[in-house]
Each structure stands twice: as C-alpha cells, then as structure tokens.
C-alpha cells in the first residue's frame, strides 16, 4: 500500500470526524499496488444509513478535511451505505485494503 502511517491516520480521523466513529475506510485502486507510482487516492467509506443529503454533506466535509491534512491532490471518495450492491463497492472490497 502506498500511503504512509501518518496519511492513514489522517484519513481515518477525517472519516470519523465527518461520518462518525463507526465509519470504516478502505483504500482501493492504484494506491494498493506497491509497484505503481503516484496516482489518485481512491477511498471507500462504509457508513450507517444516511439520507442522500446528509451523505453528500458528510462527503464534502471529509474531502475538505483530507485536503487540509494531505494537501491538494486528487481523492475519489465512494460512500457505501448498508445494502449497497453497486459494482464499485464490490470491487473496492474485493481488491482494496481496510485502513
């Protein structure tokens, strides 16, 4: 995984502050692969059931916290709610790593 321990801690803290302490985070995409370089940070955040409005607000909040902590870089955030059967969610769990 191409994230430093500090970056991982900052990501987990940002998720907890935005979505609550029960939120869990997975890293997926190219950053999981140690042989690659650079690239976006693809994250999946698993949350409790939230309304669409609240989920979007929380996502914007987390992106802001990540920007202030990790600096300005491309971060893609997928929000997974209970019973979310989208392919992107399945792929993130199958190929990603829990932070």
């Amino acid at each position: 995984m191409r994230l430093s321990p500090l970056q991982i801690a900052q990501i987990r803290q940002s998720a907890a502050e935005s979505f609550g302490p029960e939120a869990r985070v997975w890293l997926f995409g190219s950053r999981v692969d140690d042989r690659k370089r650079g690239g976006d940070i693809d994250l999946l955040v698993q949350t409790r059931a939230l309304s669409s409005d609240v989920a979007l607000r929380c996502k914007i909040c987390m992106l802001g916290l990540l920007e202030s902590r990790l600096g300005e870089q491309k971060i893609d955030l997928v929000i997974e709610q209970p019973n979310d059967d989208r392919p992107i969610v399945r792929v993130a769990h199958e190929t990603g790593l829990a932070l």
Binding site: S52, L56, K59, I60, L63, E67
Partner: protein
C-alpha cells in the same frame, strides 16, 4: 482613476462574471418555480433537461471564472504581487482585504462544485441531493459576487 492593463483585465473578468450571474439567476428562478420532485429525476422532460443544463453550465462557469480570473484580477488591480502566491494564500488575502467573506467558505464551495461536476449519482435521491446542494451553493456564489460589487468602485474607474 487612471486606466491600467490590470484594471482593464479586471473590468473584462468582472463583466464576464456578471453575464454568467444574470443567466444563473434566471435559471435559479425557474428551478425554484419548477421545484422538481425527487421521483421526477427518473425521467426528465426536455424542458427540464434544458433548464438543468443552463444551470449547470452557468454555475460551473461563474465559479471557475471567479476563482481563476476575477479574484486574481482583483488582486492585480490592487497591486498585490500574486505571481508566486498559492491559491489558498490568494483567498486568504482577499478575505483580509474585505472582499471575500470567508476563504474557507470559498474552498468549500469549490469542493461542492467539483463533486457536482465529476460525480454521477446513481439513484434519483442522490441526484436530487446533489442538485439541491449545488443550487444552494450557486446562491452563495451569487451573494459573494454581489459583495464584490460594493468594493469594485475602489479599483475600477466609474
């Protein structure tokens, strides 16, 4: 007040943003009248798609032009040296000078705009939420541009 290249550039950027603002305001009035229901996002009528396209185009353009053209032009007209200044420092300087109510608010508006432009929500409820947030953000952007008007006479010849 003497005309300078910096003031000419500012006048042009400001005029462009005012044009976007007028069209965006029209779209907002129509959107509020239309008041699309969550379920209607499943199948939009042609007129609704046109209205949403007008909103989306003007909303993203006004924010981009304010951030990348108007704000730098304001600072240049105020004879600020911004060549090596990171974006966040430019926003903080505009806040310090009293032009921008909050640099942090503008940064959040930019994140909302980026999410609006790049994300493709799958469900009607998510699409509805995204549009509601973008509409509220667009209204904030227009308020910020209105605030610039009260300062513009200090840097532009009348």
């Amino acid at each position: 007040m003497k005309q300078t290249p910096e003031r000419l550039a500012l006048a042009h950027a400001y005029s462009t943003c005012l044009g976007h603002a007028e069209a965006l305001q029209e779209a907002l009035v129509d959107l509020h009248q239309r008041d699309l229901h969550e379920l209607e996002w499943n199948k939009l009528a042609k007129e609704d798609r046109r209205l949403l396209d007008q909103f989306a185009y003007r909303y993203t353009r006004i924010q981009d032009d304010m951030g990348t053209r108007l704000m730098p032009a304001i600072l240049c007209a105020l004879e600020e040296d911004i060549a090596a200044m990171p974006v966040v420092d430019r926003l903080n300087r505009l806040e310090q000078l009293g032009w921008l109510p909050s640099a942090a608010e503008w940064s959040e508006l930019r994140r909302i705009r980026n999410a609006f432009a790049h994300d493709y929500p799958e469900t009607p409820a998510e699409r509805h939420a995204q549009w509601r947030l973008a509409i509220a953000a667009a209204e904030q952007v227009l308020t910020i541009l209105d605030g610039f008007a009260t300062h513009m006479h200090t840097v532009l010849p009348g």
